[in-house]
Amino acid sequence: MMMDAPWVVAHVERPNAPAPSPTASARLNDALKLAEQLGGSTVVLTGDDLVTSTLDYARLNNVTQIVVGKSSHPRRNPFRKTLITSLLEASKGAALHVITEQAEAEAVAPRPARRSLASWPWAGQLGALGLVGLSTAVAFLTDRISDDANLAMFFMLGVLASGLTLGLWPALTAAAVSAFVYNFFFLDPRLTIWIGHPADVLTFAVFFVAALITGWLTGRVRDQGRAVSRRAAAVAALLAASRRLSSAVGHEAAAQVLAEQLAAATNGAAVVLTPSDDDIVLTAATPALEALPSVDLAAARWAWEKGEPAGAGTGTLPNSAWTFRPLQGGRARAGVAGVEPHAVHAEEDERFVGALLDQGAVALERAEFAAQAADAQALLRSDRLRSALLNSVSHDLRTPLSTVLGSVTTLLDYGKSLDKAVQRDLMLSIREEAERLNRYVGDLLDMTRLEGGALVTRREWVDLRDVLGAAVDRVTRRLESRQVVRDFPPELTMVKADPSLLEQALVNILENAIAYSQDGSRIEVAAYEDRANVVIAIEDEGRGIPTAQLEQVFEKFRRMEESTDRGKGAGLGLAISKGFVEAMGGRIAAASPIHDGRGTRILISLPKERQTPEQLL
């Protein structure tokens, strides 16, 4: 076969064929899953005829090579053609490959003991006998009253009733017993098994056959109805479980849901173990469980490593209290689930648990992928932040240093030939840049304090007007010809705050206002109060902040990237202001534009204390 060619494993489901045994379905499921893990795709076809279905699919999908396995079982019907012969005769345009079975007996599916025979419900048989007795009694009474009543009908009713209420085998029992009783009690000569009248022989024969057919039909109808409703219930339960599993967010939540669903399905306890650092650990349990004993853990580990069931009821470590089964996901093993061994009884339950395990494996796997994706995202974000930090530090430290070094060397090398005014200007620029450097280092230190959790606030009673005044004084030299307008009320409630942190927060906001507004414009600082808060507002007449970026202005290193913004700082100022204000229990917000599409307003609100110092006096 060509390497890397796409390949498909097809399974033909025949609606009219008897249901396969659980072992056979399990083997089929395993085979399909294995095919998917090996990179093939799987398809389940429905059709009465294996050969036609297969070949139709092959033709529609341009399959060029068909591989079939040759069974070494002796043919049950020597007159029927084997699958291979039929395929060979019917196939056109596709090569047929036949793989013979291994000689090992291991490959043959163990045929399960015919459980249905062994577990005959004797109650059903007794019920059938009871119904026959009832028919007999009614027939007896009718026989007394009327001579020529057709008594066979009563027995037929009994058989029908047995079939409908008790199932196939009780119905057949009822048919046989009814035939005997009918003959013994009601066909002449009575109370013998002999039949005197030749016509009665015919009646008896017809009755017997009709009773058998009736019993068989009604019994089957009833059994199938039961099976259908059981299956529908199982499907509904599985659907509900799958819905819960798929809505579980996160690895542990998925494991917990799986444990709950397994516990409910098996009417017992369930545990789920998932991988963590090359080992598996108990992730979820219903009912809650702290840890597993070492023997159970060993069985779980075995199931995890080998991908086969282990623990109670299996050949491996059967003294464990649990039966562990691997959770085989689409690509890898997602974990191990354990249930109590006595919990699983019927085949339906078994199948349901199997399906639940599959669903759980997929859910766990998906949660794992989601977590990995989130990790990658976070890593990318922190990476971007780090490179932004590096760029910023590199640019913001180096630019003032360049100016200082350049100015100093100019003064050293050419100082004598420079005008006094130029010399003074160079010295001023050295001072300005040294101050800028100092501010920047201060910002970095503040940020480190904030992020390192080393920020200690010393809160005392402060009048916000004083702090605002001090902050404005600190930036006066940088204002150039910008005008600061103060709008303070004559009375303002004092709040508890750290005056130095608050001053730094206000200075950062004022510096921002200066950096982003034109020389000669106005900066307004106001203070006012409402019932619960004292509020500071700082407004500039700069170009404002686009609405989309309003929420990000308080993030670190968020400097609006525009050509003229270079050299305005690292983009740390507002982030520090926010950190400081929040450390004091206050809130900070930005609004922009505030008038005529321009201007930015930063609001800081600090909560009032219940008792003011005036009241305390």
Binding site: S402, D413, Y414, L426, E562
Partner: protein
């Protein structure tokens, strides 16, 4: 040189850089022309025809390399790059694209002016390059392709000789690995920096008075080599 003061165009978006470079250049006898964006800088190159250009790579409106390429399309004079250490690759690319030299921020004006002088001298040399170069007792005759020390001929392999000529013709400015490899070994070997390590070492053995303390060929780590004489 013409009668007017040599004109230097500084393209940098930091006003503080102009604030000290202006007086420094004036004091050193240059005329200072300033531009704050690449677009403005390109316009000034076209209008004022400066004798040298100082170009900051981190300009707001255009990638530094792009600005350099555009300038080189119509300007042949010396271009000096101002760069930061974290923009290493950008700096090398700029040199490969035809920048003459670079100065790393932060820098002293003395260093910048020295580099500027070298770059301008090199441009003048190129116009009338001397066929015979003498450094101490080392003599390089580019017409006869002979190298000798104190009259005694030195035996250089053809590759060693080509390498030496490339460096000497650089005239004191840095010659990048890529430029050397392309000129001597051809464009297929632009990444084979190990050739240079070997051949530069051999060249130093033959021409340097003390190969352990090179005085003729300086290494610019990660960038290239420079002829010091």
């Amino acid at each position: 040189m013409s009668a007017h003061k040599p004109r230097v165009l500084v393209i940098d978006d930091e006003p503080q850089i102009h604030r000290f470079l202006g007086p420094a250049l004036e004091a050193a006898g240059y005329e200072h022309v300033r531009a704050e964006t690449a677009t403005e800088g390109l316009r000034e190159i076209a209008r004022k025809a400066p004798d040298a250009v100082v170009l900051d790579l981190g300009l707001p409106d255009m990638d530094g390399k792009q600005a350099l390429e555009k300038a080189r399309a119509f300007y042949d004079g010396p271009i000096l790059i101002l760069s930061a250490r974290d923009r290493e690759t950008e700096k090398i690319d700029a040199l490969d694209l035809g920048a003459d030299d670079y100065v790393e921020k932060p820098f002293g004006v003395g260093e910048l002016l020295a580099r500027l002088r070298v770059a301008m001298r090199h441009r003048l040399q190129r116009v009338g390059a001397a066929p015979i170069i003498e450094v101490g007792d080392l003599k390089i005759d580019m017409i006869k392709r002979l190298v000798s020390r104190a009259g005694a001929p030195l035996h250089l392999s053809p590759k060693e000789y080509d390498l030496l000529v490339q460096l000497v013709e650089g005239g004191g400015k840095v010659v990048t690995h890529r430029q050397l490899l392309t000129a001597v070994w051809g464009p297929a070997h632009t990444e084979d920096v190990q050739y240079l390590r070997v051949f530069i070492a051999q060249l130093r053995q033959k021409i340097e008075p003390d190969p352990a303390v090179p005085t003729l060929i300086a290494t610019e780590p990660g960038v290239g080599y420079r002829w010091l004489a």
